[in-house]
Symmetry: C2
Subunit: 257 residues, 2 copies
DNA sequence: ATGTCTTTGTGAACGCGTGCACAAAGATGG
DNA sequence: CCATCTTTGTGCACGCGTTCACAAAGACAT
């Protein structure tokens, strides 16, 4: 789901399933909110509701971390926050570089959720010389030439790619060569990386297309098996197929495609 | 995975598995690239490599759509582009509203991948009166008061929420009440919606936390089962746990948390 | 027309994730 | 100290998704 490579032993390291790992941040957020409201304990039922999951699933997830609950009472909020944070590796500082400071890169740089979770923006990097030195979110943008130097001197192991699709693989290769082993990719491309490097992809266009599929299905059901066009005009299909050189290729891309 | 509700019959409508639907956009992108290079046909092996998936999986995915391939030859690129586009509902125009025009909302508005996939930004909406009328990506921002009117008069069925977490549920409720049945949520909150409404979530912070988990695991493996701190200094765990009122709550939020 | 060779489409096995349902654990009150 | 009541932790079954492996289908050459 994440790596661009063939297989992966997932997360059998200490037996924590990948699906569980993906939910831990969700639990952590709900727990943090409870912690701020000084709630001492929660039941699996309450916490599950807050996180939007099944309570049995939540209990099973926590069982992979250990027996942190008390039967008849529930879970100690503070303790659980600590345990999950530790498990996720959030008790340490993770320097991060963002490459590609367009609209999206700037939005990411300004994002407040970084610092509060142990992530620190070590540098903003862009290929455009005109951007160099320009402050974004209080940090001066540096040129791509500095990439290797920045990564090595800051011990950066996590990189965020927010470049146009055409530049992504090249940037990725340089990041990996310089020592980055985890990449969050916003560019609409399949990245190829060596074994041992994790890639996670965020793709807005794909999410919208999935929504469109379900939307079409809904419209089709209530309007007969024919699937009538909902409100808006139906576009010529050929326009989608051909249309050559759409604004999607790589040039001004500012977000996943 | 997407809905904030309990269960869902997934996509048993015509038997197309949800996992397959999620991959169709991936295939479509690869196929579009081939189409632009005027490649007439592709084998499942080639296309699978381009999309970064297993070829058997790809063939099985396509088999849910029908038998569009020719044995001994492969798939006709143009024809497949059309079939997938149609299946995803991309042969029609989908008006979309973006609510919350902060850094992220603006980045989304500027995103070129919208139009090229059949999505059209019908309106940008923000609660800040100072934003009203201000042009972003060539479109004037409108005030939240107009929300219901815009949705109804444009027949909008897909909404994008890019507001701070605190406002998300409220915006969501209004969108749904006005007729929106698919929501793409960038706010770091669990949205509660009625049955029949699809919600997909994009959460940057969660992705980073998952990467941190794997990163920590890698570091721990090569430095003994103790798990030495990689380069950066280890933060006090308490700072993560307590820290009350971090920049994550809802006020200046500009991205998923 | 026949044979060979390529590639699809799919039956079957496997593994992961989910959710039910319940026994064990422990808190709490008398 | 015992009874009761709440909530955890988990064994089990089920269903979805993935992958293998191969028969069927068709292109292409002779």
């Amino acid at each position: 789901m994440a790596t661009g490579r063939t297989h992966r032993p997932a997360t059998r390291s200490r037996g924590i399933p990948e699906a569980t790992v993906a939910r831990l941040p969700l639990y952590l957020r709900a727990l943090t909110a409870l912690s701020e409201r000084s709630v001492p304990t929660v039941s699996s039922e309450e916490l599950a509701a807050a996180a939007g999951v099944n309570s049995a699933k939540l209990r099973k997830d926590f069982s992979y971390l250990g027996s942190y609950g008390t039967r008849g009472v529930g879970y100690d909020v503070e303790y659980l926050v600590y345990q999950i944070s530790r498990e996720l590796g959030l008790t340490q500082d993770w320097p991060v570089v963002i490459v590609g400071i367009g609209n999206l890169g700037a939005a990411l740089a300004n994002y407040g959720g970084f610092a509060s979770r142990g992530f620190r923006v070590a540098a903003l990097i862009d290929a455009d010389p005109a951007m160099a030195g320009k402050p974004v979110a209080g940090i001066g943008v540096q040129h791509t030439d500095e990439l290797e130097h920045i990564i090595e001197s800051n011990g950066v192991s996590i990189g965020v790619i927010a470049t146009p699709a055409g530049a992504a693989q090249q940037v990725c290769d340089r990041l990996v060569a310089a020592g980055v082993t985890s990449i969050l990719n916003f560019a609409p491309t399949v990245l190829t990386v060596p074994d041992g490097v994790d890639v996670r992809k965020v793709d807005l266009s794909i999410e919208l297309q999935i929504l469109a599929f379900h939307e079409q299905r809904k419209a089709g059901e209530e309007a007969g098996p024919d699937g009538g066009a909902p409100v808006a005009a139906t576009r010529a299909a050929a326009a989608v197929a051909g249309e050559g050189k759409g604004p999607d290729g790589d040039v001004p891309a500012v977000m996943p495609a």
